[in-house]
């Protein structure tokens, strides 16, 4: 399951929406599969809490939803990335790499050479 602790929660909170955008970068995804993927990767503790995030991303025009026919059962809600979402994601990737390198430099390098 998801690693516990409030520091992990804090980290996830900031990065989760970009992980959503990142998963949608190359293709549309079925809502259920999207949520399961984030959950299986340990990025979210309660799957249900992703839906308010998805709702907000849609209102902010960063993702779109479409309904697609399924082979069995009801229509499925798919999420896709908008152009604005792509721009937001690319901007974050740049910031993230800088941030990650800076944290790594302190935590890993400094830690191994006391």
């Amino acid at each position: 399951m998801v690693p516990g602790g409030s520091s992990a929660t804090q980290l996830r909170r900031g990065a989760l929406e970009y992980c959503v955008l990142g998963l949608l970068r190359t293709r549309q995804r079925y809502a259920f599969d999207l949520v399961r993927e984030l959950s299986d990767r340990g990025l979210v503790a309660s799957e249900g809490t992703i839906y308010p995030l998805l709702s907000r991303l849609r209102r902010d025009d960063l993702v779109t939803t479409t309904w697609q026919e399924s082979s069995s059962g009801p229509m499925r809600r798919y999420y896709g990335l908008t152009e604005a979402g792509r721009v937001r994601l690319d901007a974050f990737i740049g910031q993230w790499c800088t941030f990650r390198d800076a944290v790594d430099a302190i935590l890993l390098t400094e830690g191994t050479h006391p």
Binding site: S39, E47, R59, G73
Partner: protein, 216 residues
């Protein structure tokens, strides 16, 4: 098909509805509908209900997460999404009782059914074909049955009395059974349609603006 809903799912969704009522209506509908679909999908995949519910987390956690999201942009109002709007209920009612108005009410019901985005095409076909005229049509039909059998027994004394008695007695037995079966079918289809109704089930559009916002 989730025609038999586990009481734990119903209970969970009711609790979510209750807790989420503090959210803006559009956000509430969006989240509630999504969680509903999620549980439908889990059931469809044969996942144990308790496991699916545990993975979702508590309704309180979902509402807390929603409350933690920045509020909606005021420039993009979203229509509240109910599974059944007044016009959809009207369609289902007219399909069953509309035929009393010279059959026109039933036709209006069919039109409303096909215009609505709440059902898939084959569900609309089902609603149209089971049963044309609806329950009120069946009542009129059964009236016609008894009139025909009564007319037969009095008028046809001279002409082919035996065959007439045969068909007459057959219709008095088989008639009510057929009408009863058709009525049960009509009621079952209506109940099914009421439960299956959901925004955007017609499937259009494949791209472009969010179908949830159609008709806004």
């Amino acid at each position: 098909m989730s025609t038999t809903v586990d009481p734990r799912v119903t209970d969970y969704l009711n609790r979510l509805r209750e807790r989420a009522s503090v959210l803006p209506p559009d956000e509430f509908e969006d989240v509630w509908q999504s969680v509903h679909e999620h549980l439908d999908e889990a059931a469809e995949r044969g996942e144990p209900i308790e496991q699916a519910l545990a993975r979702l987390g508590s309704p309180e956690a979902i509402v807390a997460a929603a409350a933690g999201q920045p509020s909606a942009q005021p420039t993009r109002p979203v229509q509240p999404q109910r599974p059944l709007r007044g016009v959809d209920v009207a369609a289902l009612v007219l399909l069953q009782v509309g035929a009393v108005v010279f059959g026109l009410g039933w036709i209006a019901g069919v039109l409303l059914l096909w215009v609505s985005d709440r059902w898939k095409w084959w569900e609309k076909l089902l609603g149209t074909l089971v049963v044309p005229g609806g329950l009120s049509g069946l009542v009129m039909l059964s009236g016609l049955f008894s009139w025909a059998s009564a007319g037969c027994s009095s008028d046809a004394v001279t002409v082919a009395e035996t065959s007439c008695t045969a068909t007459g007695s057959a219709s008095t037995v088989i008639g009510p059974i057929v009408v009863g079966l058709l009525a049960a079918g009509a009621i079952a289809v209506t109940v099914y349609l009421a439960r299956a109704a959901r925004p955007g089930r017609s499937g259009q559009p494949a791209s472009g603006p969010d179908p949830v916002e159609r008709g806004a």
